[in-house]
Structure formats: C-alpha cells, structure tokens
C-alpha cells in the first residue's frame, strides 16, 4: 500500500462518532464526545496533521461494531491490532481535547507563554526554604585525584 493509499483511506465519520461517545460519554460534568462536537468539528484537522493515522483508523472502524462495542472490548482490541487501537484512541482524544468547551472545563488554556520575575528566587532564599539543605552540609563524596 502506498502512502497515497494510506492517506486517502475512507473514514466512516458516523461510526467514529458512535464509538467516540462510548469512549467519552457525558459524565462527571464533562460533555460527551458528540456534545462537544469533537469528531464533527475536528476530525479533518486531526487527520490533516496526522494523515498516517487515517488507514489504521479506518481499520479500527471496520473491526469494531458500535452496536456491540464496550470499553472492555476496546482493551481487548489493543492486543488484537495495536496500530489500529493507537490510531482510534489518539484520534478520539485529539479531537475531544481540541474542543474549547472541553478545554475550558478542565482548565487547560494550551501551552501558553508566561512572564515571571527571574529574581523572585531571592524571596524564597531569604525566607529560608533552602536553609535546612545548606545546614546539613556537603553530601558529595571526596574522590582521589
């Protein structure tokens, strides 16, 4: 199979949404995958970034029937087809955690730039945070030569 074949494999979006809702249902104050619009809104972006996942994802979707699928069956699938399992879990998770609703609920703004005072350490040094370490004295081992 060529790279072009792999990147053009057809992904059954409806089937993926059904599986994603079983993997990530509404619970503990978090929306389900479909409530967050995870697959419908972000699948193109995710598979655009990771076209290598398209083919193993299609294989996972062909192997797993949403009408009988359970979380326990997902664990068993890992030992059957590791690449397809990895593609399914990676794509579902990536789509879900791109959602601004989801990110807001878990308090994650992304990897953002922060400013800080590089000389703030003088405060905790002055407060004595390091004193017990220093008072204990050297712990390195003398070596000949």
């Amino acid at each position: 199979m060529t790279a072009a074949d792999r990147s053009s494999a057809v992904v059954d979006i409806a089937r993926l949404e059904e599986l994603a809702d079983i993997m990530l249902p509404a619970a503990h104050g978090m929306p389900s995958a479909s409530e967050a619009g995870a697959v419908s809104l972000y699948i193109d972006e995710v598979l655009g970034w990771r076209s290598d996942l398209r083919q193993p994802l299609a294989e996972a979707l062909a192997a797993l029937d949403p009408t009988t699928f359970t979380v326990e069956a997902l664990s068993a699938f890992l030992s059957e087809d590791e690449a397809a399992y990895a593609a399914l879990t990676t794509v579902v998770a990536a789509c879900y955690y791109l959602s601004p609703v989801v990110r807001d609920r878990i308090g994650y703004p992304g990897q953002v730039a922060k400013t800080y005072d590089p000389f703030a350490y003088t405060e905790w040094v002055a407060d004595g945070l390091l004193d017990p370490v220093v008072e204990r004295g050297p712990i390195w081992r003398e070596a000949p030569g």
Partner: protein, 536 residues
C-alpha cells in the same frame, strides 16, 4: 575543487559545535559535515494546537518514528531501551530537556571508591575550568552553593522559577531532611547573549521556539561560522579515509542527491553521538590498516554502550498546580540517593529531576506514568489528575558492560544504502535493584509533599536519550579507544569529542559534561598544535 581543512568535524551537535567554535576562534580552518539541516524555529510544534500529535510522529525523539531523510534507522530489536536522537545543526540538543548538571568527583572514580567498572583517566578538577567556561558560553540558569557539589563558580543567570510543584516538593524534602536544590538548566531565565528568556511553555523537548533553551545552532555555530568555520549540511559521512601512514586523511560523504565527495583534513574529530560515532568507526574498516574497524585494536569500539535506565514517578495533588506548564528542564533536583550507601543492595545511585507532566494527551495516552482509561472513568481520572501533577524523572547510573554494544546491522541501511547501526542492550540486575530502590524513595518524596496519588513508570523503554561509552577513554590502548585527550590510540590525528568516550555514565544528564569535554579536547588540540601529527 577540493581543499584540505586543518580540522574536519563530523557532526554539528553539542560536541561538534563547541569544538568548532573554539578551534575556529583560535585560527584553525574548520570544516564540519552534518547530515541534518539548520533547524527552522518557525516549524517547531510547541506553539501549535497539534503539538501533542506532532511529538508522536514528525517530532518524535526516535529517528525510526520520525523517519526523516536525514535520519538513519537504529535497529534495536534486542535492546531494553530505544536509542533517541535528533539529526540537525544543534543535534539532539534540539530535543533535550536542557537540564545541566555536572558530574560529581566520585563519578570519575567508581573503581577506586566502589570497586566497580573503571576510573576515568582524568579527574573532576580537570573538568572544572571547562564546566565554568561552558556555563558562560551556554548561559546556564542556576544557583551556586548546592551542597551535593564541591563549590564552583556561580551560574551566569538566576535559577528558573520553582513553580508551585517545585515549591511543594522542596518543602516535602525539608520535612524528610532530604536534599533538594534548584536544577541548573541550559535555559535562559533572563536575556543573554542576544537570546530571549524562557516563557515556561513546557514544550522544551520538541524544540524551543523562543531559543531560550541552549543548543549549539544558537550558542556556538553562529560564532564558529563568523570565525571562519564552514558548515556543510545535508552531508552524510560514509567512512573516514586512512592514508599510508595510518593517519586519517579525511572523510567520504554523500550529498542529498547521493553524489559522493571527499573532504581532506589534517585532523578528524568525530562528534556524531555514541551510536553514530561507533557506526562510523566500524564502517571505516580498512583491510590494510584496521580490518575490524578504525581505532579498534582494543576491540572495544561499539562496546560498553550505556543509556541510563530511566523511571518516572508522578504524584498528583488535590488541587491545580498547572502541571502542564513550566520548563522541561526541571525545577528542582535531588541527590539524596546519588552516592553509594553500603547498606543498600547496589552501589552508586541516581539523580532525580522534577518536571511538568504535559498536556491532556500525555495524561490519557501516557508517554510517562499513568493509566489509559476510557468510558465514564476517563473523566474522573482527568478531573483527579490533570494539571495537578509533577514527575520525578530518575536517571540511574548505568555501569558499563561489554555485551551492551553497537554494531552494524547486516540488512538495514539508511536512505543512502549505508549499513544501519544495531543496538544490543540489556538493563542489568544491578540497575534493576538500583532503580526499584529509587522509585520507592521517590514515591515517599511525593507522598511527603502532599500528593494524594502516585504512579510509577518503571524503566521506560522509550528513553535512550543518553548515549555513552562506545569508544571509551583510558591510558591503556589495550583496554580503551582514546586517551585522556580523546585522541585515538591507534590514529594520532583522530579525536572523538562526543559521549562515546565516557568511561562510566554517572547518574546525571550528560550534555554538560559532553560539552566540557569537547571544549577541553579542542583546547588541548590548540595548545599542542605544533606536536600534532598530520598526513603528508
């Protein structure tokens, strides 16, 4: 048209960059061949939404996963640890964490002190002036006075922030009476040498877009090329050539179109990491002079590979600490269990470094400690752990064994058809005892720091960042490959500047010592230039 350089350096990473700058600034005509390209910081993924997807493929640390044209495959079917590296100007510094610990005096005397492995032919005091110089060249952020180390010069910049997690674990260690100290990092805490400081984005190991994390493409190559060094990228060396005097005459290299070239030089310096350097020495076998590989009369080229068994112990508090954020890098370090204690079932020890845990995908598709959980429990797990954790990254000292080795794979090749390196490596029972002890203590540390939950990821296979030992240093040509100046015993104008020369691994991240040794090698070459044998 070919020209003959004073010095040919193979590899433009940590050691190659440091050696090139020093030699060029001292008047040497330097040429460097690098199989990768200059890194393009605008392409680094840390500021993009696909960051956590990219680090699992195009920005993976494994060349086998990344599979870029400049990468060569590393066959590791029979290795407990997967070798990791990056091929570019700056080398694996592009993807390293940037923690910058020195070795300790005992690290170079393990035979004398602990009766294992071998002593180095140099001592800690020989390295100190070069450690001090490199810290200034790199722009290290840290705090002097760590009682785990002999006193040394202060760092040029103040330490990076402890963060909430670092502060909590520091207090935990104070309660336990255990050592901790702000980790020195090769990451700027303030503007330095025209570079911008760290912004705590927490993506250091997939390239620092700010350029705050030191790598020689920033810290050394611009100065080296300004001093006249010539850096040729996209240049894959296939072998070092030998002349009738048994001296190196240069190297054959292939460009991206597979056109073959020969670069002549008076002196050749290998700086290609402990896998790449061993591979090139073995590829350079010559029936007339060195049928078993260049500089290999001892039979030790490729042997004694060390990679630091690596475990991660993660703890989670019951409140937010923004555990995805902060330099990566480490906020604090502990050497409490570093030195030998006769009451334990092992000698030597490990260094701990406290690091962030990553973004949501790293939580639920763990590359480190944690569980993969789906269904309703997924949200419970995320609610309990996400943003609430920090990880002790634990490197155990890896004692050398000749059976752990790099050789040439009989089947696999790189994109130019050159045989790929094959790594055979087993974690020893000694290392397993050492790491199990450290994991238990690190769990105690996080519990004492208030963590409600902990998890251990023991001896993670995907962790071979620290490649060391495949061309060891020593005084005896029968039991070592290079002398204390890192000059090959067998080939007077061949030097090895990378961590291949390490006699033992220590338990600390090696790049600080790699660069100090490279500077020392280059400096001694400058001092002894009139005595240097060169081809006719």
């Amino acid at each position: 048209m070919t020209f003959r350089a004073d010095v040919l350096i193979i590899g433009a990473g940590a050691s190659g960059g440091v050696a090139a700058r020093h030699l060029a600034e001292h008047g040497f005509d330097v040429v460097c061949l690098e199989q990768g390209d200059w890194p393009d910081r605008s392409s680094f993924p840390g500021t993009r939404p696909d960051w956590e997807l990219a680090i699992r493929r195009d920005w993976a640390m494994s060349p086998n996963v990344r599979n870029r044209p400049e990468d060569y495959p590393v066959v590791h079917d029979n290795s407990d640890i997967e070798p990791l590296m990056y091929n570019a100007v700056g080398g694996s510094m592009i993807i390293y964490a940037g923690t910058w610990p020195r070795m300790l005096p005992s690290d170079l005397r393990v035979r004398t002190l602990d009766g294992v492995a071998d002593d180095w032919p140099i001592a800690y005091r020989d390295l100190v002036p070069y450690y001090d110089a490199i810290d200034r060249q790199i722009g290290v952020s840290g705090l002097a006075g760590d009682p785990a180390y002999p006193p040394h010069d202060d760092y040029p910049l103040p330490p990076l922030p402890l963060g909430v997690a670092g502060g909590r674990v520091a207090e935990g260690h104070n309660r336990l009476g255990w050592h901790w100290w702000p980790e020195p990092n090769a990451i700027l805490s303030a503007p330095y040498d025209g570079r911008r400081p760290c912004v705590q984005r927490g993506v250091c190991t997939s390239g620092c877009a700010e350029g705050a994390k030191a790598s020689t493409d920033l810290t050394h190559w611009p100065k080296a090329t300004a001093a006249g060094a010539r850096l040729i990228t996209g240049a894959r060396v296939s072998r070092i050539t030998i002349g009738p005097q048994g001296l190196a005459t240069g190297a054959v290299w292939l460009d991206s179109a597979s056109v073959e070239h020969h670069q002549e030089a008076d002196v050749v310096i290998l700086a290609a990491n402990a896998v790449g350097t061993a591979r090139l020495l073995l590829l350079s076998a010559d029936e007339r002079y060195c049928p078993d590989g260049l500089a290999n009369s001892s039979g030790l080229v490729g042997r004694r590979l060390m990679m630091h068994p690596f475990s991660v112990v993660t703890g989670w508090w019951d409140d937010q600490v923004e555990g995805w954020q902060g330099h990566f890098g480490a906020s604090i370090t502990s050497y409490e269990f570093y030195e030998t204690d006769p009451s334990r079932e092992f000698v030597r020890g490990a260094k701990w470094a406290l690091s962030p845990v990553g973004g949501p995908l790293n939580h639920i598709l763990p590359m480190r400690a944690g569980n993969e959980v789906w269904g309703p429990d997924h949200h419970a797990l995320m609610g309990r752990t996400f943003g609430r954790g920090a990880s002790w990254a634990i490197f155990g000292e890896d004692l050398p064994e000749e059976s752990n080795r790099v050789d040439l794979d009989p089947d696999r090749t790189d994109s130019h058809g050159i045989p790929a390196p094959r790594v055979g490596y087993r974690i020893s029972d000694h290392s397993r005892r050492l790491m199990a002890y450290q994991e238990d203590r690190a769990t105690e540390s996080l519990e004492a720091s208030g963590c409600q939950e902990t998890a251990v990821a023991s001896m993670i296979p995907y962790s071979g960042w620290h490649l060391m030992g495949t061309a060891r240093m020593g005084d005896d040509p029968a039991s070592s490959v290079v002398n204390s100046r890192q000059q090959a015993h067998d080939v007077a104008n061949l030097y090895i500047a990378d961590a291949s020369v390490f006699v033992t691994s220590s338990g600390v991240n090696p790049t600080c010592t790699i660069t100090a040794l490279a500077l020392r090698t280059a400096d001694l070459l400058v001092q002894r230039r009139r005595e240097q044998k060169v081809p006719a």
